[in-house]
Structures are given as structure tokens and as C-alpha cells.
């Protein structure tokens, strides 16, 4: 039974009221706390909540493909699986690393390095671990979905390059963006883990090719499980690019160079478009498109033959006798070479030292030699003399005008500038006086002079085009989107497009002599191409002195660099080829390689219609100057009696009739509708009529004078 309690005893009501106030105060504090969070901080916390639950899953943009000039596919993409790691989803990341490394065939310290690189990124962002994982690695990830919830895979498009290193240096390769690039403000738009072009076209045109990654916003719970998708920002695929490369010419160049070390570049002198670019030894860019093994990379880097080096634009070597073309033009333009006659006895004394002519090795001599024979017989004594008469400053001036010692500005990364020596250059770099004897060496392209193949062919092609030099490039300028035009404006500094005025007579002398080089009289007679107007110049450049070579007992590695520069037709050529064969010994060996490239090009062009081009408008300058051409005013002296041209070096045939005979170049030997040759290309009627060709007769390649046409025509190459 309940006890009794004093009912009179009461608690003062003020105490209970006090407690009521305390309760009210506590609740008021709680409400104010809620106000602070839900009213004042609502926006901030809502953003945090969004970040908490939304994960961006990247959708990688496929890179633009690369095509050749005829639209043939060079570089494609293929589907590949990449493994990502989401740190947030890991239960115990450090403990899992050895298992992950084992399953993905990686090193644990490699994983640590990757995680360290991404340490600043939010924990829910996936980190790319391994690209192009193999099916067994995919199976490993699938089988360990419960133990390793942090691993995720994504299928993406990856690069597929031509096999066997075909055009590898030109195309380049892609790889994960490097730390250096991330630090470079120019590459501010790159994120860690981005796959970017690291060499060749892939690097220089990366902004066009790369596209823009998209993302899928997915709602996840705190365990990373997907609860639903919010929206998709689709990836913008990279823009495909048409290269100026002609697959057929490239193939011919690759096959011509074969396993030899060196480089071949073929350009279209009218535009500077690169038709082919080969550098050997080569590498397989597919090894880079996926992950390259560290050992394999080290091997490529340490290889003394520098397989990663694009020798077409990076090898800097003495040009040897190919330099004589530049020197000949210089001598003619200076008015010295026209009348110069030298008696070659297999050598001559300059400044107290005896300089040999190459022919002395055959116990022969050139005898009386003028400029033409000097070129096609490559007489050293003639050019020693010419160099002595001009002096180094004049030679250097002309060489500079033709772009030696400067980058050409080709749209590929890491072009080398080469060296054009001069007294000023020597003083600046070596603080030494120029010795007169050095001028004699430079006269035959030896000594300190060093050129890159691309530089040399730009100069020779420019001379062949009557002094119009073009910036070599591998991507058609109209392939660059408007918004990136500014970016590419100054992206590749160099000598670019230039015009060096050359007197037509001098032009004719040199180009005709170059045509002689590949005739029975020239140094590369057996590179002659029957039926093709082919001109060129050999060069055999010493890399060590003969005395040194003899003292170490020779050896193929010390053999001369075999150069050849060639073009077709001889004036206003459509194609110019440079062959640089390291340790190839003799320039005429390279000449045969170049001939194969020229032949492949001509054979292809023969299949096209209207394959004629005008090389010069002799008279009626107004008629011969369509708006699309580059008229060149000739300041030099003309040969007496020759019609004085006002304009030369037009890159396009005029679209209006000329009233006088026109010099034309034809690249083909074609029948006029030969009845037994249905594949033979029809000659334009005007040409057939001009040469009084009847059925069954053929037109030989070469340059011709064409009588003025009776009616305006739409001629030339379409």
C-alpha cells in the first residue's frame, strides 16, 4: 500500500517557471541553429549535397582520324577498355594495392605514383590506372568486383596506327599528358590523365584532333552504387584531318628507303604540301597508343640510331654537293658564274692549301669546266673557285635567303634550324675569326654548314620554282577550323613562304644542268628516268675527314652521307624529293631512291587528265597573270636575246589565253587515243593539235613550247 506524503509541502512555482524558461531557451537555441543551416547555409549545403551524390563519369571523345590527301584512312580508332580506380569506393586502398598491381600486371610503386599524382582530386573522381587492358585483366576486375569495389572499367576509342612504323614520325603518337606539359601554361586545358598527342601531327594538331570529353552525371549513394542518371553531356568527337600526304608516294618512299637509315621527304613545290615523309629507323606508334613498357621506352631512348627522331626535320647534316645548287644560283645572280671557266686537274690550291676534287679519287679530272658541267659533274674545283670569288658573306647571304640556318616552319613539333656558317656566326658562337679556307669548304657544302632534309628540299624546290619558296606543311590550311586559325598563325615560326627573285636565264641554266645530272653525262646517270622530266643534284657529304676515316680503318658508320635532291619537271616542278641516306657513301645511290619516288608520283599523275602545267608566260604579262598566281618581278640580268619575261614562277596555269607560245611541262608519255591501249589517257585536243600528233604517236615527257591557243580554255590541273 502506498505511503502517505505531506501534501502541504510544495515546490515554489517560481522554480518550475524557471525550468519552463530554460526549456524555451534550449528550444530557441535549437531553432536558431536550424535557421543558420537551413536558411543561411541552405545554398552551400545543397551544393555539398549535390557534390556528395553526383559523380561525373567521363565519356571520352574519340580522336579525329587522319586521312591522306585522297581521303584514304591512315589512322583509325578501335574500342579499348580502360581501368579506373575510384578511391572513395575502396574499403582499404593501401591493403588492396598489391592485389590490384598483381591483377593488372603493374608494380605497386607504380600505383603509388599514380595515386600521388591525383592526390588533389576529390575522392569520388575516377583515376585512370591502366589503359587498353587485356581480356584476362578485365576478367580479373569482374571477378574481384566484391573485394575491389574501387576498380571500374570504361570502354573507349583508342588509336590504331599503320603497322611497321609506316609514316610513324610524321603521324606521331599519343600518350598520357606529361607532368611537364601540365606545368606549361600553353597546355592549361589539359587534365591529368588526358591522352594527348606527344609527337608528329598528333602533337601539333592535338587541339583539333582531341575533341571534347563528355560526361554522364550519375547519382550514387555513399557506397558508390549508381542510383540513377541525371543527364549526359555527350562527347564531342575530335575533327578528322586530311593530311597532304599521298599514300602512294609515301609507300614508294618507304619502300625506296627500305631498311636504310636516313630520311626521304617529297613535297609539292607549288604549295609546300608534303607528299611523303619517311625517317628510319622507325618505331611502332601503336606501342605508344597503348601503354609502353618502361624497358621498351628506355630502349628507344637509348638507341644510338635515335628511332624516335624525325630525321626529315631534325637531322642536321652537311649538305655536301647539293649545296652547289644554291651556290650556283648565288653565283649566277651575282653575275660571276656565267663567265667563270675553271680548268680542273683533280684539285687546286686555295690560300696555300690543296683542295681535292672528288674526281681525283678516280684518277681523273674534269678539265675545262663552266657552270653547267660544274653542276652535272659536280666539279669541286669549279665551286671552290666560285666560293673564293664570291666570299663567305655573299654565300651566306644567299643561303639565308633560301632558308638555311632557319626553321622552315613546317607544322610538326621540334623542327631543327640547321647552321649556315658565316664569319659573324663563328664569332658569335666560337669567338674566333673566320679562316678563308673555310669558305672553300663551304663552297662544296662541307665544314660547319648543316641542313635538315626539309630545309634543303624547300630551298631546292624554291629554286626549281623560279625563286618561289613555300612553307612545307603536312595539313591543308583549310583543314584548320576558323577558331583555331589564330592559334596556328604563329605556332610554327620559320622562314615560311618567301620569294627570292631569280633571273629566268639563270633559272634555266641551273635547272637544265640539274636535268643533266640524271643523264649519261651527269653524276647520277643511272638514276635516269626514261620518259620523265627529272632533274636533281647528288651530294656525298663527309661526316669525318678522310684522314680520320683511314686512321680508324673505315667502317660503315663513318661513310659519307648520301644526299640527293630531285624534282620533276625540271622547271616549276610538281614534286621535289630529298633523300638523305646516312652512311650511304655516294649521292648517286640516293638518286636512285629519289627516282623511285618521282616515278611513283609521275605514274600516278599520268592517270589523271589534263596533266599539263604552264611553266612561264613569255609575253603578254597581263594575260598571264590570273589573280590566283604569285607574280614575281625579275630584277636580275637576262640572257641576251631572250624574250624578257615579266612574270615567272606561276603556280597555276593561266585561265586566259596567251597570245604567244608558252613553255609547258608534261609529266607523261601518253598515246593519243591509241587503239590498242584503252587505258591510255587522252591528250587534250589542243596539245595533240599543237604537236601535230596523230593516232598512235606519243608525247614524251619534258618541257615544250606550246603555240598560242586560238580560243580561251580552261586548262591545267583541275
Amino acid at each position: 500500500m502506498a505511503g502517505t506524503y505531506n501534501k502541504d509541502e510544495r515546490i515554489p512555482s517560481i522554480k518550475l517557471t524557471a525550468i519552463q524558461y530554460v526549456i524555451a531557451l534550449i528550444l530557441a537555441i535549437l531553432v536558431s541553429g536550424l535557421w543558420r543551416l537551413q536558411v543561411l547555409g541552405a545554398q552551400n549545403y545543397r551544393a555539398l549535397a549535390e557534390a556528395n551524390r553526383i559523380r561525373k563519369v567521363p565519356i571520352l571523345a574519340p580522336r579525329g582520324k587522319l586521312y591522306d590527301r585522297d581521303g584514304r584512312l591512315l589512322v583509325d580508332n578501335y574500342p579499348s577498355v580502360t581501368c579506373f580506380l575510384v578511391p572513395e569506393q575502396a574499403r582499404n586502398l593501401d591493403a588492396d594495392l598489391p592485389l590490384i598491381a598483381d591483377g593488372l600486371h603493374m608494380q605497386t610503386d607504380q600505383l603509388h605514383a599514380i595515386l600521388l599524382r591525383y592526390r588533389h582530386q576529390p575522392k569520388y573522381q575516377p583515376i585512370p590506372l591502366q589503359q587498353d587492358i587485356t581480356p584476362d585483366e578485365q576478367a580479373f576486375i569482374a571477378a574481384h568486383a566484391n573485394e575491389l569495389p574501387e576498380l571500374e572499367t570504361i570502354e573507349e576509342q583508342r588509336r590504331l596506327y599503320p603497322s611497321n612504323g609506316f609514316a610513324a614520325h610524321l603521324i606521331g603518337y599519343v600518350g598520357e599528358v606529361s607532368e611537364d606539359m601540365l606545368d606549361d601554361p600553353r597546355y592549361a586545358f589539359y587534365q591529368p590523365g588526358d591522352v594527348v598527342g606527344r609527337s608528329g601531327v598528333e602533337e601539333s594538331y592535338d587541339p583539333i584532333l582531341r575533341g571534347q570529353d563528355g560526361s554522364r552525371d550519375v547519382i550514387v549513394d555513399s557506397h558508390g552504387r549508381e542510383l540513377g542518371a541525371l543527364g549526359i553531356e555527350p562527347a564531342k568527337p575530335g575533327k578528322s584531318i586530311k593530311l597532304t600526304i599521298d599514300l602512294d608516294v609515301q609507300k614508294a618512299a618507304e619502300e625506296a628507303l627500305g631498311a636504310r637509315q636516313g630520311a626521304i621527304v617529297a613535297i609539292d613545290p607549288r604549295t609546300g604540301e608534303v607528299l611523303a615523309m619517311v625517317s628510319h629507323p622507325t618505331f611502332d606508334p601503336n606501342r605508344f597508343a597503348i601503354r609502353i613498357h618502361r624497358d621498351e621506352w628506355n630502349k628507344l631512348i637509348a638507341d644510338p640510331d635515335h628511332p624516335l627522331m624525325n630525321k626529315a626535320i631534325q637531322a642536321q647534316l652537311a649538305p655536301g654537293s647539293t649545296f652547289k645548287i644554291i651556290e650556283a644560283i648565288a653565283g649566277l645572280q651575282e653575275g660571276i658564274a656565267q663567265t667563270l671557266k675553271v680548268d680542273c686537274h683533280g684539285g687546286a690550291v686555295f690560300y696555300g692549301r690543296y683542295f681535292k676534287c672528288w674526281i681525283s679519287a678516280r684518277h681523273q679530272s674534269h678539265g675545262i669546266t663552266e657552270i653547267g658541267k660544274g653542276i652535272y659533274q659536280s666539279c669541286d674545283v669549279f665551286f671552290y673557285t666560285l666560293a673564293e670569288k664570291m666570299g663567305i658573306d655573299t654565300i651566306a647571304k644567299w643561303a639565308h635567303m633560301f632558308g638555311l640556318g632557319q626553321k622552315t616552319g613546317i607544322d610538326l613539333p621540334n623542327e631543327a634550324a640547321g647552321i649556315m656558317p658565316s664569319p659573324e656566326w663563328k664569332m658569335r658562337n666560337y669567338h674566333q675569326k673566320w679562316f678563308a679556307g673555310e669558305t672553300i669548304s663551304v663552297g662544296i657544302g662541307q665544314g660547319a654548314i648543316a641542313v635538315t632534309p626539309i630545309q634543303l628540299i624547300r630551298a631546292i624546290a624554291g629554286i626549281g620554282s623560279g625563286g618561289v619558296l613555300k612553307r612545307p606543311h603536312v595539313v591543308f590550311p583549310n583543314e584548320i577550323p576558323a577558331d583555331l586559325k589564330d592559334y596556328y598563325q604563329d605556332r610554327f615560326p620559320g622562314s615560311g613562304d618567301q620569294v627570292v627573285p631569280i633571273d629566268p636565264a639563270n633559272w634555266q641554266i641551273v635547272t637544265d644542268a640539274m636535268a643533266q645530272v640524271v643523264s649519261f653525262a651527269g653524276t647520277a646517270g643511272f638514276a635516269h628516268l626514261d620518259g620523265i622530266d627529272f632533274a636533281g643534284k647528288t651530294g656525298s657529304a663527309q661526316i669525318v675527314s678522310n684522314a680520320y676515316k683511314a686512321s680508324v680503318g673505315g667502317g660503315a658508320k663513318l661513310n659519307d652521307t648520301a644526299w640527293f635532291v630531285g624534282m620533276s619537271p625540271r622547271r616549276n616542278p610538281e614534286i621535289a624529293v630529298v633523300v638523305m641516306w646516312q652512311n650511304g657513301s655516294e649521292g648517286y645511290f640516293s638518286a636512285r631512291l629519289a627516282a623511285r619516288v618521282i616515278e611513283a608520283y609521275v605514274n600516278k599523275e599520268r592517270l589523271r587528265d589534263h596533266n599539263l602545267m604552264q611553266v612561264a608566260a613569255k609575253t603578254n604579262p597581263d594575260a598571264g597573270k590570273p589573280s590566283s598566281t604569285v607574280p614575281v618581278t625579275v630584277k636580275g640580268k637576262s640572257a641576251p636575246g631572250a624574250a624578257k619575261p615579266k612574270s615567272i614562277g606561276q603556280m597555276q596555269p593561266p585561265r586566259v589565253a596567251t597570245a604567244s607560245p608558252t613553255e609547258m611541262a608534261a609529266l607523261w608519255t601518253a598515246s593519243v587515243a591509241h587503239p590498242e591501249d584503252p587505258d591510255a589517257k587522252q591528250l587534250p585536243a589542243r596539245i595533240a593539235a599543237a604537236f601535230s600528233l596523230t593516232k598512235g604517236t606519243t608525247l614524251q615527257a619534258g618541257t615544250f613550247l606550246l603555240p598560242p591557243p586560238p580560243t580561251p580554255r580552261n586548262g591545267g590541273r583541275e
Binding site: E9, I11, I23
Partner: protein, 364 residues
Amino acid sequence: MRRFLSYRDFDWTLMGFVVALSVISVLEIYSATLHTKFVDFDQKQMLWLAGGFVSMFVLSLIDYHILLDIAVWAYGICLVSLVAVLAVGTKVLGGRRWISLPGGIHFQPSEWVKLVLIVVLARFFTNLSGRDLTWKDIFKAIAMVVVPMLLVMKQPDLGTALTYAPVLLVGLFLGGIRFRQAAILLLAASLALVPAWYKVLKPYQKARLTSFLAPDNDPRGSGYQIRQSLIAVGSGGVWGQGAEKGSQTQGDFLPIPYTDFIFAAFCEEHGLAGAVLVLLLYFLLLMRLVQNAQTAADLPGTLIVMGVVAVLIFQIAVNVGMVIGLMPVTGIPLPLMSYGGSSVLFTFLALGIVMNVRMSRFVN
């Protein structure tokens, strides 16, 4: 002495507030467990509530003076069961708090201790029969609370142990402690806290107690719960994201959104408006309880009701304070809202006693 108890005297107003909060609780538990393996917890909670209402009605019929009479015995049983828990209790989530009974029932003595302490302290202060508190009385009262408190802390269940303290504080306050005594006690207590911090508390308890001050320092560690809770409450805004639409709650970011963090889940889905409504219901309920205390027939009745008030306001303050980052994470459930049988039963039994006190006010 005859008693005339009538349900006409039953506190239907108080009952209304309790029902309202219970309904809100069930709805929020439903929403918070919708996509989890605890999906039927709202139904279980309804069963607990049904049991709670029945217990409340039954207890409201038992004269609280009988409880006062048996309080000393009950207190003894409580101490024994607390020791038993430490010896043979079931280990759940790293703590020994439950005794498994046949039939799958888990019995958590520490919740019952609360109830017994309320009654036993009411009896203790009543028996002083109006004289001023001596230091001896004070120490006796403190000892009565601190002994079970230490046993519960040993389980370890810091949160529940702390809920015993307000019963003592309100008891001392209403029992007539002098200002000077209170000041000295306060000083002594704060001095005692220093060694307690270093010796008694386990590192994780310390981490939980301090991480609320700077939850962003370790967002994946002990600050995680607070951080997620703050995000949940804050992102609710004024009107909330809507029932079953709270991303923190539904996405499993919010820890245990059906028990300790149910108020965060509610705030996320119903915003400041919903939160203020719930706090208003609590306020009205507590005011009603204090009023009941004032109108109680005798001193022990008043003391019992005020003991219940003390426990409830303490739990509300600590739980809501934790959810909004003003208090450390202590694992104290929100009365009438959090899921859980022991919590529901304690609250309803306590309210049952309060009901009896109110119904007895005119009984002589």
C-alpha cells in the same frame, strides 16, 4: 483510502502531442528506410508504439505511490542487472548493452534505470521532509546516480549514462540546493572532468565528443557523421526536399537516419518548417508536463514529472544539437521520434507515470 481514477481526468491534450509526434516518427522512419534492408522498420516501430501506448495506459492506472514504495527494491535490481549486462550481455556494435532473453527479446537495462532513478530520486528528496539540503544529502543523491552511471559508461554507453545526469540536476534544484552549494559542486565537477577526460573516456569517445567542433578536419573519419548530418539539414532549406526525396537520407550518406539521425533526415525532407513544427510539438508537450507537475497532488508527484521533463529536454537538446552540429555525437535517441523499442518503452512508461500523477491530482 479509496481512489477514484477516471479517464475523464486522463491528459488527452498531452496524448494528442504524443500521437502527433509518433505519427511523424513512423512516417519519417518509413521514408528513411525505404531503400534499405531496414525497410519494415516503420511497421516494427508501430508495434513498439502500440506496446508503448498499452504500457502507458496500464501504468497510468497504477498509483505512483506504489512505485515510490518499491523504488528502492527496483533500484537494487537495476544495479544487479547492470552488473549482469557487463558479465553476460550480448555484444552488439562493440558494446555490451543488451541481455538476451528467451524468445528473441533483447533487454537493455540502462533505459529502465532512467525510470527507476526518476522515481527513487523523487522519493529521496521527498523524504527530506522540507529541511534544507545538507552536504550529506547531496552526496547521497549524487552517489545514487553516479553508481549506475559508471556501470553504464563501462558498457560502454556514454550517451545513456549522460541522460541520468539531468534527473540528478533537476532533483537537486527542486530539492532545494543552495546557490553556494551549487557553485561549489559545479567547480568540483569541472575539476573532476579533467582526469575523467584522460582516464575514463576511450579514444573514440573523445574523438566523437570533439569532432563536432571541426567536422571538416576529417571528413571521412569521426567527423563524417556530423558532416553528412549538417549537409542533410542544410540542404533541406526552408521547405525541405520532400518526403522520400532527401538525397542524403535516400543515398545512404546520412548515418542511421531512422534512429539517432532521424531528425536530420526529417529536416532534409521537410525543411525548417517541418523542424520548427516538431520542436513546437515538443515545446507544447514539455509545457504541458510542467503544468502537470505544478498541479500534482503532492511533492513526489511533482518531482517525478519534473524528472521526466529533465530527461526529455536533455535528450531533445543533445540529439537535435548533435544533428545540427552544436553537440557531440553521443548516440542519444530523440524521444518519440527515433526508432527503437527500449527508447519507446521508456518514454511511454514515463508518460504513463505522469498520467497517473495527473489523474491522481483530485484524489484524496
